[in-house]
């Protein structure tokens, strides 16, 4: 995956470039908005990571310029402004995701990978399948093996989100944002409890667990046999 990091803080940028390389991605760095825009216009990137406050051209303008030129490379906005309305403004300007600073690298990585995959056009399938677990989005049916699993509406959405991003790490905040539409920190880890409920429904009694906890990052649903 090729990434472009537009960030004026040298240390933060170096850290990100190095961290992304360590996990096997290619990352370029632009130190200001103008440079970032011209690099992004040349294309070839899978995801853009854009700091909101940049010298010369601010992050939202960079994304706005790209969008008017029909360049749809997914963009994740990093910002020290974390409040709800700032977030809404960022997404309205054409950003695809918004991560307030300070963030953890695992959170950023998980979000970037989801964005990259979405762009490749995995699309909105009507059926998801992981191992012997099947989810039908139209009939709202979940079947594992030959057995139908009954889920609450929210549990269904939780599983749907996890399966849509099967094989990818999904963080707790991503779940809270996408399944519950909350952007605040619920202090106690309520998500863990929901996951363990879901796990007891889909994994209990099966030899092969599908829903995995990724330590320090979040959760992932994948076919353990591979």
């Amino acid at each position: 995956m090729r990434l472009l990091i537009i960030e004026d803080d040298r240390d933060a940028a170096d850290y990100l470039v190095k961290a992304f390389r360590e996990v096997g991605h290619v990352a370029d760095h632009a130190a200001d908005g103008e440079e970032g825009l011209s690099l992004a216009l040349d294309g070839g990137y899978d995801v853009l990571i854009v700091d909101r406050m940049l010298p010369k051209l601010d992050g939202l303008t960079v994304i706005g310029c790209l969008r008017t030129k029909n360049i749809t490379t997914p963009a994740l906005i990093l910002s020290a402004l974390g409040a709800v309305d700032d977030r809404v403004r960022g997404l309205r300007a054409g950003g695809d995701d918004y991560l307030p600073k300070p963030y953890s690298f695992s959170e950023l990585l998980a979000r970037v990978e989801v964005l990259a995959r979405r762009h490749v056009g995995r699309g909105e399938d009507t059926q998801y399948r992981v191992g012997d677990l099947e989810l039908d989005r139209l009939s709202h049916r979940v079947v594992r093996g030959k057995e139908e699993i009954l889920l609450q509406p929210r549990e269904f959405r939780l599983l749907e989100y996890l399966m849509k991003h099967a094989g990818q790490v999904v963080t707790r905040t991503m779940l809270l944002e996408n399944v519950w539409d909350y952007h605040f920190d619920p202090q106690t880890n309520v998500i863990d409890v929901h996951i363990s409920r879901l796990r007891s429904k889909i994994d209990k009694g099966f030899a092969q667990p599908l829903l995995h906890t990724v330590r320090g990052a979040g959760y992932m649903i994948r076919d353990g046999a591979r």
Partner: protein
């Protein structure tokens, strides 16, 4: 600027000057009109008298001839305050009358004319003006009757004098009034300026004086005072936040630093370093959380979020939040029930209200969980439920979260809403001490309030918010 200069520049003084000019012009016009009309009236009166006498004399001449006319004129001429009379032969020889001299050529033509004259018995220098009428009688006799114009001139002079005086008085009174009014205004404005200057210099406790007359200055002062009140409370809040940040962020930062230093000094295996680093990350996450909460409270208190307000259903929020926490409650051995069926519209920020409610539910679970109930043995297992309700009460929407935990002693209830206040009993549980402050700030942002009540046993937190009415009401 000198005091006089300042006075002359005031709006009140300038207005006074404008009024002064307008009034002077008006007075002048009035007097001019009066003088003109008086003059016309006198002229008319004179004309009537003169014409009357002339007619009388003419009749006498026509009946009894020149002799009778001369006799009549002689009699009339001698009366005190008499008119002017002159009867001449066709060649201008005086036959009778009291006129000594006239401007030359007056007798040549018939009709009305104004002329200077002198009476017979008067000295050479005494000249007066008169309005006269000359008529030629049959037989070439000419007769002149006239009346002195002194009276007219006198009245005219009186009016002119009155005019001059009144204009002078208007000007003097106007300027004096202007100065008086301007000085009064200036005094109050100066007082206001003085107060604002001390406030600008940093003393935010200063207030503008309100005299109580209810005039526009009082109203302005009351409004400005209200504004100052708000600014002061915001500044106080800001200062409090800064103080709290200093205190409650520095403590964990110190802990963080001490731990790292200790690790550098004593740790000698990778596992140990790893453990310290993991602890450090965890601690820094707690710090970020505290910081976020503080910022959120500050934003809610400043009313900055107000722009993004929209109408939403609080009952739905109650159901959603309960649904989010229900598994957690069950995990802790509690039941979480929600009673929110009726649509309860509130204009506000859905995210913030959700977070406030989440804080309350989170607290309830944290403190009412059977494991946390060490200090209150009175609670039995039957009554370990948490109840979330959302309901409409007249023009308010009321959200409650009730638990059967240890509750909060009534003496502490108002205190726990303050930032960073954690009661002794809760020190052992995780938390920043900001949860209730945020709830209270969110409630106030929406024009509502947070109340903590006794649930006998336990705690009932009650948020009341103004209901969104059909004509949308402004949150106070």
């Amino acid at each position: 600027m000198t005091a006089l200069g300042k006075l002359l520049r005031t709006t009140a003084f300038r207005l006074t000057l404008v009024y002064l000019v307008v009034f002077s012009l008006f007075a002048a016009f009035l007097l001019g009109y009066f003088a003109f009309n008086t003059r016309r009236l006198i002229n008319e009166q004179i004309a009537t008298i003169v014409s009357g006498e002339l007619q009388l004399l003419q009749v006498q001449y026509n009946q009894a001839g020149i002799r009778r006319l001369v006799a009549a004129v002689d009699v009339r001429s001698r009366r005190p305050g008499s008119s002017l009379y002159l009867v001449t032969t066709p060649i201008g020889e005086g036959l009778a009358g009291n006129v000594g001299s006239l401007e030359p050529g007056i007798l040549e033509s018939e009709g009305w004319v104004e002329t200077a004259y002198r009476r017979l018995e008067e000295p050479e220098s005494a000249e007066h003006n008169a309005l006269v009428r000359v008529t030629r009688l049959p037989g070439g006799i000419r007769i002149l009757v006239g009346r002195d114009l002194d009276e007219r001139e006198r009245i005219f002079h009186i009016v002119a004098l009155a005019g001059r005086w009144s204009v002078a008085i208007v000007i003097v009174l106007g300027i004096a009034g202007g100065v008086f009014v301007s000085r009064r205004v200036l005094k109050r404005v100066d007082a206001m300026t003085g107060t604002t200057q001390t406030i600008m210099a940093g003393d935010l406790s200063g207030r503008l004086s309100v005299i109580g007359s209810g005039d526009e200055f009082d109203r302005l002062a009351v409004n400005l005072n209200g504004m100052l009140e708000r600014i002061e409370s915001l500044m106080r809040g800001l200062k409090e936040v800064t103080d709290n940040i200093a205190h409650d962020l520095k403590t964990p930062l110190t802990r963080l630093r001490n731990r790292c230093e200790a690790a550098l000094r004593t740790a000698n295996s990778e596992t140990e370093f790893r453990r310290v680093l993991e602890d450090t990350i965890e601690e820094s996450e707690g710090l970020i959380r505290t910081f976020d909460a503080l910022l959120m409270i500050a934003r809610a208190e400043s009313g900055e979020v107000r722009e993004g307000m929209a109408e939403f259903d609080v009952a739905e929020v109650a159901r959603d939040v309960s649904e989010l926490y229900e598994p957690l409650a069950e995990d802790k051995g509690l039941t979480l029930e929600v009673n929110a069926k009726q649509h309860a519209a509130v204009k506000g920020n859905r995210e913030l209200v959700s977070q406030a409610l989440a804080n309350l539910v989170d607290n309830a679970i944290k403190y009412a969980a059977p494991s946390a109930k060490v200090s209150s043995g009175a609670v039995n297992g039957e009554r370990s439920g948490i109840l979330v309700t959302a309901d409409a009460e007249q023009d308010r929407i009321v959200l409650t979260v009730s638990d059967h935990g240890p509750g909060i002693p009534s003496a502490d209830r108002s205190r726990v809403v303050d930032r960073f206040v954690r009661l002794e009993r809760s020190r052992s549980l995780p938390g920043s001490g900001l949860g209730l402050s945020l709830v209270s700030a969110v409630a106030r942002l929406h024009g509502g309030e947070l109340k903590l009540e006794d649930n006998a046993p336990g705690l009932r937190a009650r948020i009341s918010l103004p209901r969104a009415a059909a004509p949308p009401q402004q949150a106070a």
